[in-house]
């Protein structure tokens, strides 16, 4: 990487962290936990959200901030706020804290307990930009190959949960779950992961339960830090 670019990138990351902390303070004031959902394009984030929200998250009132280019979630029965509709530069390649901040006025924070942010499909840039979230989920699909943790280690390190999606395709692709787990353990020892299929429904209840536990885990972390 060229020197000037590195300096620009470091300055941008400092500014981003400052704004992420401001977002975090606003989320805390409203009592909202936030999950940042990341993946490659086409790994199935949107279908997964549709399945999970159809199932529900217990007593939690969930909302979506749709940050991916041209999302299709508007027909869900939860509040959906759309960002990044793809004008100009062709859409952003990741969400940053300031983009999320620019949307805060449009999100009914007082009516939510959990905000799920669907990030742009990209396995490089989103890892570098915190948005003020409590937890990050990385969705990988079995169609993408078991080597992905080794190729994009930052993304697989920058998350608290890894979803292995489209496991209904396992009989038809060269994807070895044990290899994937081995590679994942090498780049992010001990991280939680679960096999899921938005198509067959396998693992959707487990994912819903994990999401439903985010606010309590966030409170535990905050309590330990106080």
């Amino acid at each position: 990487m060229h020197r000037v670019k590195v300096r620009v990138a470091e300055g941008a990351l400092d500014a981003n962290d400052t704004i992420a902390r401001a977002n975090r303070a606003d989320f805390d004031r409203a009592g909202v936990s936030v999950v940042n959902l990341m993946s490659a394009p086409g790994s199935g984030k949107t279908s997964l959200l549709e399945r999970v929200l159809a199932l529900g998250l217990g007593d939690l009132r969930a909302g979506i901030l749709e940050g991916d280019v041209q999302g299709r979630l508007a027909q869900l029965h939860v509040p959906v706020t759309q960002l990044n509709t793809g004008g100009g530069f062709g859409g952003e390649c990741h969400l940053d804290a300031n983009m999320v901040r620019s949307a805060l006025d449009d999100i009914p924070l007082d009516d939510l307990d959990l905000l799920i942010v669907e990030n742009v499909g990209n396995l490089v840039c989103p890892a570098e930009f915190r948005i003020g979230e409590d937890a990050r989920i990385m969705v990988a699909s079995v169609a993408e190959g078991a080597d992905k943790p080794l190729k994009y280690p930052l993304m697989f390190r920058a998350c608290e949960l890894v979803i292995v999606n489209k496991v209904d395709l396992l009989p038809y692709v060269d994807f070895d779950l044990e290899h994937f787990a081995h590679h994942l353990e090498a780049v992010h020892p001990g991280v939680a992961w679960m096999p899921v299929s938005a198509r067959s429904g396998e693992g959707v209840a487990e994912l819903a339960a994990w999401l439903a536990g985010v606010p309590e885990r966030a409170r535990a972390v905050a309590g330990a830090g106080a």
Copy 2:
């Protein structure tokens, strides 16, 4: 997008085009045609290259510039030059003309007729950065969904050929080739596309034939412009 960012991006694109023209001049001097291969992560670019190069490209001497993060192509029997091995900022999210330029001394241009550049897996940024290539190929996999041309129109516009890869999975995924073709036609009328499976070998010979025709088509374009 924020104003400062837009200005930075426009300046970067101007500089990129200048360097891309310098690359182009060097490729012309060496008599090398260049293909820029783009896709989402996990769509199968690397496996496709392995299949196509095993088949061969007729009389053409091919080489690879491996720009994706941590490539695995080194064992092929063609010259492979590696860029972007993922240090520091977690790897680049696209190749730009200057990154390609920084590798030119390491590529045996005089021994090549066709250089295939494997770009970083990303469906947003690579569309904006020419690298001095003659042709661009966009690889989409049927596992990613038929809506991808609508979600990432710039990428599907910025190419001369679209590969629909992993068609061996068609019986097992909700992907309608006709819908895909319809969406593709909407964003890039008349663009060539072909169904391929790096796994079964379907379409690999057609892709090899298309690649083998790149130098002649490039000469025809140059002749028409002279």
